[in-house]
Amino acid sequence: MTRLVTYGAAVSLDGYIARPDGGVDWLHFSKDAQAAMAKYWPTVDTIVFGRKTFEIAMKQGSGGGGGGADGGIRTFVCSRTIERLDVPGATLVRENAGEFVARLRREPGKGICIMSGGNLAASLFAADVIDEVGLNIHPILLGDGVPMFGGPARDIKLSLTEYRQLDGGCVLVNYRVLREAA
């Protein structure tokens, strides 16, 4: 058994998780969405950030050292560009992110949450280390921004495990990644 790796995000109908400048002012914070997150967080003990997402999360005061609500969460930040990270409780990962997460998910522990944009997600999909994909689809076209998905150029088939409408015209969907039978 490996640990469950989930990649989830609030996303515009046209597939962006943030404006070009990282802005998420368009997000609808409903009780519904908060309840879904409150149910999810206890299943996780590790967050793997993309570097840009981490910087945005830090600015919003929700990055590093456990995301505020949960103590004891291990935080990793993947980057191929920065050489050091001076954030207490956060560890810089400079090696290949796919190999890193592949190793991480074989270690004992709870679920692993990926918080990133399409770049890191593409590497992790390519390494086949993502088990679940979740979207909270917001009723807006942003027109431009940071995409949730960025490849790779191969088919990844999914199985819908959860679907419901949330407050504010949002649609929550969760999928399990279907792998060829080993």
Binding site: L13, D14, G15, F125, V133, L135, I137, P139, I140, L141, L142, G143, D144, G145, M148, F149, G151, P152, A153, R154, D155, I156, K157, L158, S159, L160, Y163, Q165, G169, C170, V171, V173, Y175
Partner: protein
């Protein structure tokens, strides 16, 4: 205001592509279920006229027979040398004036077939009223984007949505004024 209501009705991969880079739709087979048309015929019955761009027209024209023989189609293209086809009208320029003409002919609802450039033009002209999107449970990684950005920002209202047994999730979003 007499123009028809314009609905984009289309299937997309979860990562927002409507076709592979070479235009292939083979990945749609993933949600093929006997007897399930995902509401297509019910939708088609409400459509008075089809509106499409050249790319979509070329795809439709490549089929053994024209797929929409019982509805008039309007194709936006700058080409003037396309061979005529029964029920198909070639037009160019802005979409809004063409829609006004279609409204004057009594058409109430237009299906914007295909996404991409024409959908973007409609959105920019403020004449794209409704997005009916069927999201397939598959990532294909690359291809023709449903929303080739950058677009204008637009707030939408979720009108309805439902999930099918195959994992396809269909939503109807209306443009907010």
């Amino acid at each position: 205001m007499t123009r028809p209501r314009v609905s984009l009705y289309i299937a997309s991969s979860l990562d927002g592509f409507i076709a592979r880079p070479d235009g292939a739709f083979d990945w749609l087979d993933f949600i093929d279920r006997p007897g399930e048309d995902y509401g297509y015929h019910a939708f088609y019955a409400t459509v008075d006229v089809l509106v499409m761009g050249r790319g979509t027209y070329d795809v439709c024209a490549s089929f053994a027979s024209w797929p929409y023989p019982d509805r008039p189609s309007v194709v936006f293209t700058h080409r003037t040398d396309l061979p005529p086809r029964d029920g198909v009208e070639f037009v160019s320029g802005d979409v809004a004036p063409v829609l006004e003409q279609l409204g004057a002919r009594g058409y109430k609802r237009a299906w914007l077939v295909g996404g991409g450039a024409l959908a973007r033009q409609c959105q920019e002209e403020g004449v794209l009223d409704e997005y009916i999107i069927s999201m397939l449970p598959i990532l294909i990684g690359e291809g023709l984007p449903l929303f080739p950005g950058p677009w204008n920002e637009q707030k939408l209202s979720l009108v309805e949505s439902r999930a099918y047994e195959s994992g396809l999730v269909q939503g109807v979003w209306a443009a907010r004024p």
